[in-house]
């Protein structure tokens, strides 16, 4: 077991909250800046809901903020978000251009410079039964993005075939919020940059980042450090994206997040056949559970994935619980 202590190695958040505050309205900026530093340094999200109190998510708890910047567990007396506050924030995050965010509004979120994510709710406008856009935006959730560099070192060592210098086909799986994407991002960075420590020269990595979570792209430019040899296809459906990267960018490793659909697996098969290495993440708490899903069962039966990394929270977010190899699967009876 390799312990990953994400919380301890996290980059200080001073820069992060200041970046976010620059998108707030002048009034909100003043209030948040007055919040005690110990809350801001662990700030995870700022929630703005029209006509309701200003709320901060800090660690795993949430707090309501008063006009003077003091925080409290009780909503009474907290600063209430007005329409004009929301309007100004929306102006700032959209660069005065709601029309330029059609795709983002359809998906319900957008990425800010710095990789921070903003979720939006309001009234959905439908077109042929599909969400066309969101109007009358009334709720924003600004999520602070923190890069945790260096956490993948221990894992990466076990994901490299030291004889040939190539990366094993790897699946990272865990329940939600266990640090899959954070680990994946750091793996991408280290595989791309190379690790002199164990004589790994660095490989060309292609990332299909459908939900902009791995590289946190803002207008196509990665806001996180994803390494020097990394190409990111932002906002692209995974199956299509893998094919595009395979054909156009000649990657050594293709990386994508949260696969699960049959079309994703079919695309992965193409990638395997092209001799390109694959690292993907999957939601799931055990190998048995993965094997119970038809699409993933098919993937397991292909007998190609060489490493399964299971993450959990037993020693904090991002703990590597176990790394399985292909032969472990046979012993566990997961594979027929």
């Amino acid at each position: 077991m390799t312990g990953l202590t994400a919380a301890k190695t996290a980059i200080p958040a001073e820069g992060a909250w200041q970046q976010i505050v620059s998108f707030l309205s002048p009034g909100l900026k003043e209030i948040i800046s007055a919040v005690p530093q110990r809350y801001l340094s662990e700030l995870e999200e700022i929630r703005l809901r029209r006509d309701r109190p200003l709320m901060l998510g800090v660690g795993s708890a949430d707090f309501f903020v008063r006009r003077d910047g003091s925080v409290n567990h009780i909503p009474a007396g907290a600063f209430v978000i007005e329409a004009s506050d929301l309007e100004k924030v929306i102006h700032n995050i959209s660069g005065y251009s709601i029309y330029a965010l059609e795709e983002e509004l359809r998906n319900g979120y957008l990425t800010l410079p710095g990789g921070h994510r903003v979720g939006l709710t309001g009234k959905a406008v439908l077109d042929n039964g599909r969400v066309k856009t969101i109007k009358h935006i009334s709720g924003l959730n600004i999520r602070v993005c923190r890069e945790v560099k260096g956490i993948a070192g221990g894992v990466l060592n076990k994901l490299i075939d030291h004889k040939t210098g190539s990366v094993y086909h790897t699946v990272i799986f865990s329940p939600p919020r266990c640090g899959k994407t954070t680990l994946l991002r750091d793996l991408v960075r280290q595989i791309s940059d190379g690790v002199p420590g164990f004589n790994f020269p660095g490989r060309t990595v292609g990332v299909v980042d459908e939900r902009s979570e791995i590289a946190g792209c803002h207008r196509g430019v990665p806001q996180m450090d994803v390494g020097v040899r990394t190409d990111v296809l932002d906002g692209c459906p995974k199956a299509q994206g893998m094919m595009i990267l395979l054909r156009s960018m000649s990657p050594d490793v293709i990386v994508t997040d949260e696969i699960g659909k049959m079309e994703d697996i079919k695309a992965l098969e193409e990638v395997f056949n092209a001799g390109v290495r694959v690292i993907v993440t999957i939601h799931g708490s055990s190998l048995r559970e993965l094997a119970a899903r038809p699409a993933l069962k098919y993937l397991l039966q292909l007998n190609i994935i060489e490493r399964f990394v299971q993450l959990g929270r037993s020693r904090g977010v991002g703990t590597v619980e176990k790394i399985y190899t292909g032969s472990d699967l046979l012993q566990l009876g997961v594979k027929q």
């Binding site: 251009s97 709601i98 059609e102």
Partner: protein, 172 residues
């Protein structure tokens, strides 16, 4: 001799005044045409390319001549300054600033000001509609402006010159 010089001065001054007034009438259609072109560019930037507003305005300014370039350039710069002001306030303040520098009438500017209420805050189709509506209204204003230019430019040129002569003759 002094009388002659005085007379000449009066005629020149009055002629210049008439010429200036006529210039106002002939510049207005030109500026309206310029605004219409600018709005068409803005529409293309927004509806086809979805360029963010400050950038779309700056690009429009780059391609425009004076004085419309100054207007769009100013709005773009104000929006980029990160004041947190809503776009419609910036828009309308910039028009206020532009008014004394242009030959446009209050009614022309109010058309553009109206556009400021909706610029940037809706989807592309909707933005296109608002911009086209403003451009159509400006075209109507242009037709009226051209007609009044035709009537007034010549008249004010003559009125200036002849008025000066009349004054000189009366004083003689």
């Amino acid at each position: 001799m002094i009388k002659l010089i005085g007379g000449l001065l009066i005629v020149t001054a009055s002629g210049l005044a008439g010429w200036k007034k006529a210039g106002l009438y002939s510049r207005r259609p030109r500026e309206l045409r310029q605004l219409i072109t600018a709005l068409q560019m803005l529409e293309t930037e927004i509806t086809y390319v979805a360029t963010p507003l400050p950038e779309a305005l700056a690009r429009t300014a780059e391609q425009m001549g004076s004085p419309a370039a100054a207007l769009f350039g100013r709005i773009a710069a104000e929006l980029r300054s990160g004041s947190g002001k809503p776009a419609r306030d910036t828009w309308s303040e910039s028009l206020q600033w532009y008014y004394p520098r242009s030959s446009l009438g209050e009614s022309d500017l109010s058309i553009v000001r109206g556009l400021g209420n909706s610029i940037g805050i809706s989807d592309r189709d909707d933005q296109g509609k608002h911009i086209r509506l403003a451009a159509e209204q400006l075209k109507a204003a242009l037709a009226a402006a051209e007609e009044s230019a035709q009537k007034n430019v010549k008249m004010w040129n003559y009125v200036g010159l002849l008025g000066g002569l009349v004054i000189v003759l009366a004083l003689y």
